[in-house]
């Protein structure tokens, strides 16, 4: 029997992002489509950044999670269009990033507040951070550096 797609989405929502394990690959917005093609489950994944080393790990993690649930015929498809955008991050994902100490993307082009103390006096240290998707910022209120998930 083929599991319902809603159930499969729930399973995928339990697959953590390998770099930022507090959010799932579904929260990240990279799972674009899940559908049955005959008895094969097709999953379309969109890479965040073209050179992101986590992309191949994510494909492997998704496939492993599905096999553990008994879905053996899985086809993972990489889909680059439309390109991934931080607009696809879920509300749950944004809230978890904030709790984890990573400021979620904000349309104004910089973090809204310090994820640690909530301060608003912020300075950008570098557009590039510890992973391709993050920039490096500092809070001038609590003086702590923090990661900002940059808009793309």
């Amino acid at each position: 029997m083929k599991p319902q797609l809603a159930e499969i989405w729930d399973w995928l929502d339990q697959v953590p992002d390998p770099e930022i394990p507090v959010i799932s690959v579904v929260d990240l917005g990279i799972v674009r489509e899940v559908k049955w093609a005959g008895n094969t489950l097709e999953v379309a994944l969109t890479p965040t950044y073209s050179g992101c080393p986590a992309t191949s790990i994510i494909a492997l993690d998704v496939e492993t999670a599905l096999r553990e649930r008994g879905v053996d015929a899985v086809r993972i498809r990489t889909q680059i269009s439309p390109p991934w955008t931080t607009d696809w991050l879920s509300e749950k994902g944004r809230a978890r990033l904030q709790e984890y100490g990573i400021a979620p993307p904000h349309p104004a082009g910089g973090p809204e507040k310090c994820p640690r103390c909530g301060g608003h006096t912020l300075t950008r240290i570098s557009q590039f951070g510890s992973t391709p998707c993050k920039a490096h910022w500092r809070c001038d209120d609590c003086l702590e550096p923090f990661d900002y998930f940059k808009c793309i």
């Binding site: 950044y49 073209s50 269009s81 570098s126 590039f128 510890s130 940059k150």
Partner: protein
């Protein structure tokens, strides 16, 4: 996909530019002047290598000869590379690396913006993906060129020396040959010359703010993108980049 030698050539040019520059930039990994710059350079190298995989992956499909993106990157010899001479120039000091990056980024962004409306949807999709990443590259390299150009006497003189050295490599980015004509006629890619005015306006503005003077004369070193004659530096770079596949053919992990 039907084999189209001009299209294959064009894709190799795009992919070889990002591959060679990506490798050059990665040479800084662990050596940059400060940690933030080291991380930024590594991130940019990663973006460029990721874009290479898309360009050369499509080149493989177009050629249909079973040469994967990895094969094209690691098993071609220097005369088969189609990158512009600018990107193969050595890193020099940090300022020279950033000047090279800035001149390339300013061209790259305009090229990718134009390619987002390519009649070839695969190319348009790759460009739409890459343009987002390259917008960040331009922002950073522009800011660094301004910071160092309008910095200390020492940093200013080094940035001016870098500009004097690298400016003669700019012209090749906008040169047109029969491959470009074929791409333009098919609506696949813009005429490179059409990107020059936008490039000059942007680069001129940044360099003025950086207190740097563009050298006189329009002499341009050429021969990289046509493969006619690379500079001596590319072969040396490939001995490092391709070493593993040359010493242990077909190894994987």
């Amino acid at each position: 996909m039907a084999h189209d030698p001009d299209l294959f050539e064009f894709l190799c040019r795009m992919g070889d530019n990002t591959l060679v520059l990506g490798h050059r930039v990665s040479e800084w990994c662990g050596f940059a002047p400060v940690l933030e710059e080291d991380i930024a350079l590594a991130n940019i190298a990663l973006d460029l290598i990721g874009q290479t995989r898309m360009w050369l992956g499509l080149a493989d499909e177009v050629e249909g000869a079973g040469r994967s993106a990895d094969d094209l990157a690691m098993l071609r010899d220097v005369w088969d590379f189609r990158n512009v001479l600018l990107v193969e120039q050595p890193n020099g000091d940090f300022g020279q690396t950033m000047m090279r990056q800035f001149l390339f980024d300013a061209w790259h962004l305009r090229m990718l913006e134009a390619l987002t409306t390519s009649t070839n949807t695969r190319i348009a999709e790759i460009a739409a993906k890459a343009v987002k990443e390259v917008s960040y590259h331009v922002e950073r390299s522009s800011g660094t060129v301004i910071g160092l150009g309008d910095g200390t006497v020492e940093s200013h003189s080094r940035m001016q020396a870098a500009l004097d050295l690298l400016w003669p490599y700019v012209g090749e980015l906008f040169s047109t040959d029969k491959v470009d004509v074929a791409m333009t006629q098919a609506g696949i890619a813009p005429d490179p010359a059409s990107l020059r005015a936008g490039f000059d306006a942007y680069v001129g503005g940044v360099l003025a703010e950086a207190m740097l003077t563009i050298p006189d004369g329009d002499f341009a070193h050429k021969g990289g993108k046509t493969g006619f004659r690379h500079s001596e530096h590319l072969g040396h770079m490939l001995t490092q980049m391709q070493w593993l596949q040359r010493a242990y053919p077909g190894s994987s992990w």
